[in-house]
Amino acid sequence: MLAFALALLYPLAGLCAPIGHWQWDGSIPGSTASAVSVSLILTGIALLFDVALGTPVAWYLARHSGRDTIVWEAAVLVSVLMPPLALGILLSLAFGPSTAPGAWLLRMGVPTSNSPLAFTATQIYVSIGYYIVAARAALAAVPADLERMASLLGLRPCQVFRRVTFPLARLGFAAALSLAWVRALGEFGAVIVTAYYPSGMPVQIWINLQDAGMPAVLPLLVVFLLTALPLPWVIHLIAQRRHADANP
């Protein structure tokens, strides 16, 4: 087990590789600070949309079992299983000037590529499926008879969600959110097609790699890891701990 864990963590040793002095400044096109703020702000916005749009869908899928549910689940899975590069190309075509929606958006002055909107929309597309699948599992784990009992005790559906469903599913929701966070923040294949500018961290790392080599990559890579990894990692540990406490 130890050998396996060491092997799994071994890629982190790359941070100590002898590649010369790390290049911290903005001598490369697009600064590190700008890439970090683009990634963090736009990923945050994308997650708000994931939660607002994905939670009702996850609830519907968790609480209904009809034939139509299979169709909706299949649609959600397509977004999860779609290779990112393919998704990026399809998005740029579907919202490009050659399609009716794309042409209409451009006429309305909405830039559908290389803009914060395109960046955020791409992140929503790549992450919302993951959010829905994980949130659905969290909601499905809340016994429906508890929700029914809360209704019988006089609570309206939104009160049932606030006082029973959400508190019981909150760790699952946190896990869903952290999964979506990692997915959106780390997205490269789709974003590089739809929103080369403004460059988020993954695209900026690639630009640095192309233009200045490894010494310019590693500082941003460290920031990237520090923003992407701790949230899901801590949430996972808390969930494990709570599970162990609940099932001694």
Binding site: P143, D145, L146, R148, M149, A150, S151, L152, L153, G154, L155, R156, P157, R163, V164, P167, L168, A246
Partner: protein, 234 residues
Amino acid sequence: MPTLEAHIVKRRRVFTVDVHLRLEQGERLALFGASGAGKSTVLSCLAGIENPDSGRIHFGETVFFPPNLPLYRRALAYLTQSDSLFPHLSVADNVCFGLRGHERNGAQRWVEELKERLELGPLWNESARRISGGQARRVALARMLARRPPLVLLDEPFTALDRPTISELVDAILQWHRELGFILIAVDHRADILEKLCTRAAAIEGGHIVQQGTWPDLTAAPATPLLARLLSTG
């Protein structure tokens, strides 16, 4: 004085449940029959967990069906085999769960009485996760009665409990029935429990009421051989 009038028609795989009920305030009715006879279907239609296929359910001025009134607008309490306690809350929060802010203040003495009578004091601040099955049933009963419901539905709530606990809970329910005057409908397949809890009984077989009356009526002349057998073994 709310009266419950119900005609419930609900198709099942093997038969159709078709039951008429009429209960005045304070009445206590037992729905008695073998497992799978349709007793629980009647209660879950009254509670709103299932929708009848046709019929009508009126409770006083309130129409439960049709159209199907949402669960949260039905002034009733429903106790089942499952305690359905909220595991993330304490015993106290479970008991007071259905009380809104102003009700909570007004019901303080009543909640205290429930707490004392059901011996919930030592558990009051415990997590609902950490109490035993018998304790959970007492908490579920207190939670059900905290809102002082005018209609109480009991669906085999004593399953898996020992005799002393059952006797204790039945006594408590009867005492509060005297105080609150609710309509009580209880379902069980054990005649002795129902006999103690209810004054009147309706025997159900294949989704239909085959006999109604007082317990002495039923035991003196059971309408069907199955009912006779159930009464003799209950």
